[in-house]
Subunit: 328 residues, 5 copies
């Protein structure tokens, strides 16, 4: 799907602009055009990006065909920025990362993504309704987009934080195999999160510090603000990693303690009864001889046969039981 | 709560100044104004900060609505500084960090925090009583504030140090599950402390080295002094981390040794009595036959029934006991 | 084997050029020569490289006799570049790395390798058929080569990724000794991969950033593109390393859990039956006396001898069995 | 205690100079004064340092009241240098670090420490006897002091090295709980040592590289020499850390191996005797009947009562024994 | 032992030059002198180095009395370079490092070492026979020396690599305590190797990059070549470290697996026989009464006494056996 907003130099907003009228719009040096390719086929997009906007084919390849870690490339007339929008559902196996490719020119911004991005849709809707967002320039729309993405990052981090706490309580109560699996999954997720956050922070740092033709020097302070948020997000994600590591250590120590308890009991029981068993074995206990005639049938033929059957069945049953538990 | 001190250019201290008279006070280029927002509603604070002081709305947002890692932003006419005041009660689950936002201008200092900060109150009280603190300029009040915060940091570090030592002695004596939990908590706390200390150190480093319009070059040496304290604090917190790690290793080695001891005993007992039990089992021990008539009742019917009941109850009791210990 | 393509300044392609005509071809300042030494003897290669091309004997030594981590040496008139082409078959013990030595001049490119490299052959075949590749200069052929190598890297990384996932599923189901061996092998492979990737990334970074006489400044953007791919590859290989580490941790936790289960069962059985055995041992169980005459032969001489034999054989059998399992 | 040496410009040494004559001595631009405060009360020292020498009160605070990691502060007319002198007795729980504060001016050196420092006393005694040391300037005395400190560092490192070797041999022979405690202590000590060494190395690096008004550029080579020693010391302390880590790993592997051995024996014994016990249990061993009349008293009443007492006492004894070993 | 070669400006080689003629030789600005102190007493060497060559006494101290990590000191008229020659015999406890101190002037090179260095002897012998080596200048002899050292480094690395592989195969087959000891030794050796390699690489990097008066700018490319070899050596030594770490992990996992197997067997045997033992204990097995008169002597007095002796000896024997295995 391709959609576009054209903010005319006279202050009008055109929301039904088609690719055919892009060239005219781009020539309006006072206007601003925002084109969004959402899950669009590569071929038509490629034509527009290369021929209408005149982007370098390497940059277009990056945007349409390839996956990248977040980065910013300066092509002088425009910037190519790759970012990731992330989302996370509690209990999921990984965070969901969607690549968002942005071309930022002096008077236009082009966004490309293969799946809908909530943050982008929010900014899009606001921009369609409120002309003021365009008045501050195309770079300000980029700021709104990054700011929106960060809000979603924060949600992800908070959801993870909550889940780690839950798993911790679970592990303290009853350390189960499932809890461990979850800890390992959370560990992997936090690692993934960190690998997305670090380069993104670097991108924002560049936008806030470096001198780009298409970013107004006075607007850099906005990107510095987003950068500060990312520094804090990175900080929290580091805490998360420590927390997950701590939960794992706790689990192992709980398991270890329990193992210790079990071995103690085993040793206790063995230590108490082994000498006793020797003693009673020694005497037979031939202090006694049988007195009760009523117990005679207990040693009859039928009883013997049943006993023999039980003796022969017990190992088979035990063996089968252990086999089912996958010990052999 | 909003409170303010106005040090007039003629040397008078006005402690009951209201927001309405801030603009007049700010125009007095020789005077110094200290405004403190303590747990104040964001809306009125925002009005004063943006319209009276003329701070950038991003900086005001940082101060009123958001949490940050310690940082210093240079807005030329003023600095925005975010710090954390920390406190810690022995045995608590985490250190208590309160964000302190500071705006430092050439002739004013504005502080904002959501909970009372002891160090700030101490400096406030001294400033109200002693006009000399204002004579050295607004940046010197910032120095007094940071110096006061560091004193509280040192208290926290000392409390932690003492607690780590206690836990270590505990673990050596009798390694318990609670001790391990406490070690993990202490580990997390030291990690948290380090994450607060590192950026704060960087902030002081910047104040001591960089050239800011609102900090007198001759006063930088004071911030270098605070910076040196933070270097030492960081050093101690690293030691703390090593100590906690060492306690954990000690715990594991103590547990391991004990496990080893237990297994040795189990093996010893088993090794001693198993061959003996075989021997006495082999002979029955049919060397003996019962001689004492007095023992006849021991093999009577009543005795048999009691024995059977005990035999049937024992597994049930044992099983229940283990179930209660959560082994099944 | 030595082979060469000579792109004449008039646009003709000569594919059967012999070493004798190299000097003439090299003098054609508009033409481009690509010479490829594939598994060629060092002596004749050395003669050509030193005397025909005039390379420094240290650089030729590097290319013909020695193994290097990827690097780029600037010899002003030409660049010496060492790279590695890698391939990997699922289940193999290591990735297969072939060193590719490249000399890049303004009008020629010389490649040297001791085993066939698929990526190079692909580019060779395309260049033989399509004159356009030469039109962009010798440095563009270098770009095509590096780009081709990267494609093979990606294949290796994908194969590894898949295998790690397989091993993970295996471990979850049934942790076996073979799976662990495979995890350790995969760990070593990812370490190897990382050690190849990091310096190669640095080589591309240099090609994309530094100012070399033989690389057209406008072509650097192509090397930046390859560099970005390498950044991503490095990122994925880091994920791989984390994944492998995670699988190992999972394995250990699964093993630990199982051990715990086994110990629980052992303790359970011991705890249930030890008191019972004592009880029945205590009474002998002399409640009963033998009644059935039919069982008399069970205690006859023959039975005794058989029993004695079994008693003496059992330890021997048990001992041999344990010996075979390598416990003694 | 305060003591001072005054090297007059005419080459005389005055060793009984009192604080009253410091101002006169300091005015002698060709002479050199060395004042040493050893475990002196802060108040009189503060007066002399601030009023006689004119040091900044922050620097004096650093010297008299506070503890710092090694550092060098440039106050232009003088340097403030904080160092640590260390000593170590084999078997001690930590290295003993004494802070040495030094003020170095163009014509004086002031040292301050709270406990006697052997290296300083050695240099002091030599300087009192040999006028040549003063001829090279105050900065050369600083060099002699640092060089002397380093000699003590080397002694500490050698003592630690020897002790680590002893503990290693101990662990190989018989892994005991005490050995582990010692390993952990040594680990902590090496960590402490490293934390003292790293900033000290940095101080010497600064003295060797930076341009200070009070250090003759030609004398920097001496500080570079001390710096090189510190590099080597740091290198050895890293080796020490690796060695200690290795001893710990060895200990754990020895313990693990022994555990394995014990478990093998337990399993061996159990595996050998369990089937035998079943067999002899099965037959009762009712192959035999008692024959010897002489053994009759063994099953008499007295014997029974003794047996019962032993049976009842055994668990109590076992339980008490385990309780004393702290298993319950 | 002191030996020297003097390459005269007229192309003659004098190999029997004595210290007395050094000053004359040094004045020959076109000639080159190589003096080698091999295991020479410090005093005469000191006299020559300080008075004949005019080296700074700190540099001479470094060379004659002290041990250093590899470094290069620029004394303008000459360089002082400290390196290590290493050798390693398979199975040895550590690599053997000999410090080689080199003074490099424009027209002389002085080497000093406390033990014979093979690489140096090789270069010495070649230089004595082949005048061409001197023609390229004193710095080229330094290159030949470093290049020779690197060859020995490579041999050490290869020997280590082979040994690690052997230990790995050993561990896979039968994990023994000796193998673990060897792994730990190899780990320490690789750590040592790395600590020698890293600063040496830095030394070569400086020689290849920095501008020294005594090294011809055109000869730097040779040191870059040696530097590249060191980069590769460092890379291989990192692989070695990973390999050793991997072997250790493998060992632990093999041990763990075996432990698991043993525990399984123990549990299996116990689980199978405990219920059976209870059963046969319950019935006594009083189904049978003795029938064979021939077995009567088995329960006679002599048999009883022997049994009693065995019963009393068994614990003593078992206890002694365990004591000898150092379990008590």
């Amino acid at each position: 799907m391709l959609r576009a907003i054209y903010y005319k130099s006279n202050g009008d907003l055109v929301t039904d602009i088609t690719p055919e009228s892009f060239p005219a719009a781009l020539e309006d040096a006072q206007g601003i055009v925002w084109v969004d390719f959402s899950n669009e086929e590569p071929e038509p997009a490629e034509t527009i990006l290369i021929h209408t906007f005149g982007f370098h084919h390497l940059a277009v390849d990056d945007a349409l065909h390839e996956t990248h870690v977040p980065k910013v490339d300066d092509w002088e007339q425009y910037l190519y920025i790759a970012m990731h929008a992330i989302s996370y559902t509690s209990g999921a196996d990984d965070i969901d990362a969607i690549e968002l490719d942005i071309f930022l020119g002096a008077h236009y911004i082009v966004t490309h993504h293969d799946a809908p991005i909530q943050a982008l849709d929010r900014v899009w809707d606001i921009c369609r309704q409120d002309v003021r967002y365009f008045k501050r320039g195309a770079d300000h729309i980029l700021y709104e987009l990054t700011d929106g993405l960060i809000v979603d990052y924060m949600k992800v981090v908070e959801a993870l934080d909550e889940e780690v706490e839950n798993v911790e309580n679970l592990v303290m109560g009853k350390p189960s195999s499932e809890a461990v699996q979850r800890i390992f999954t959370l560990k992997r997720i936090t690692l993934h999160l960190r690998r997305v956050l670090s380069p993104l922070r670097e991108v924002l740092n560049k936008l806030a510090r470096d001198d780009y033709a298409v970013i107004d020097a006075r607007d850099r302070v906005y990107f510095r603000d987003v950068y500060d948020h990312l520094v804090r997000l990175h900080d929290i994600s580091e805490s998360l990693r420590d927390l997950v590591g701590g939960v794992l250590d706790t689990y192992l120590s709980v398991i270890n303690n329990r193992m210790n308890e079990i071995m103690k009991t085993l040793t206790l029981i063995t230590t108490l009864f082994m000498p006793l068993s020797f003693l009673v074995g020694f005497f037979g206990m031939n202090y006694f001889f049988p007195t009760s005639q009523e117990l005679l049938p207990w040693t009859g033929n039928i009883s013997f046969i049943i006993t023999m059957i039980v003796i022969m069945l017990t190992p088979v049953v035990m063996f089968t039981w252990m086999k089912r538990r996958k010990w052999m």
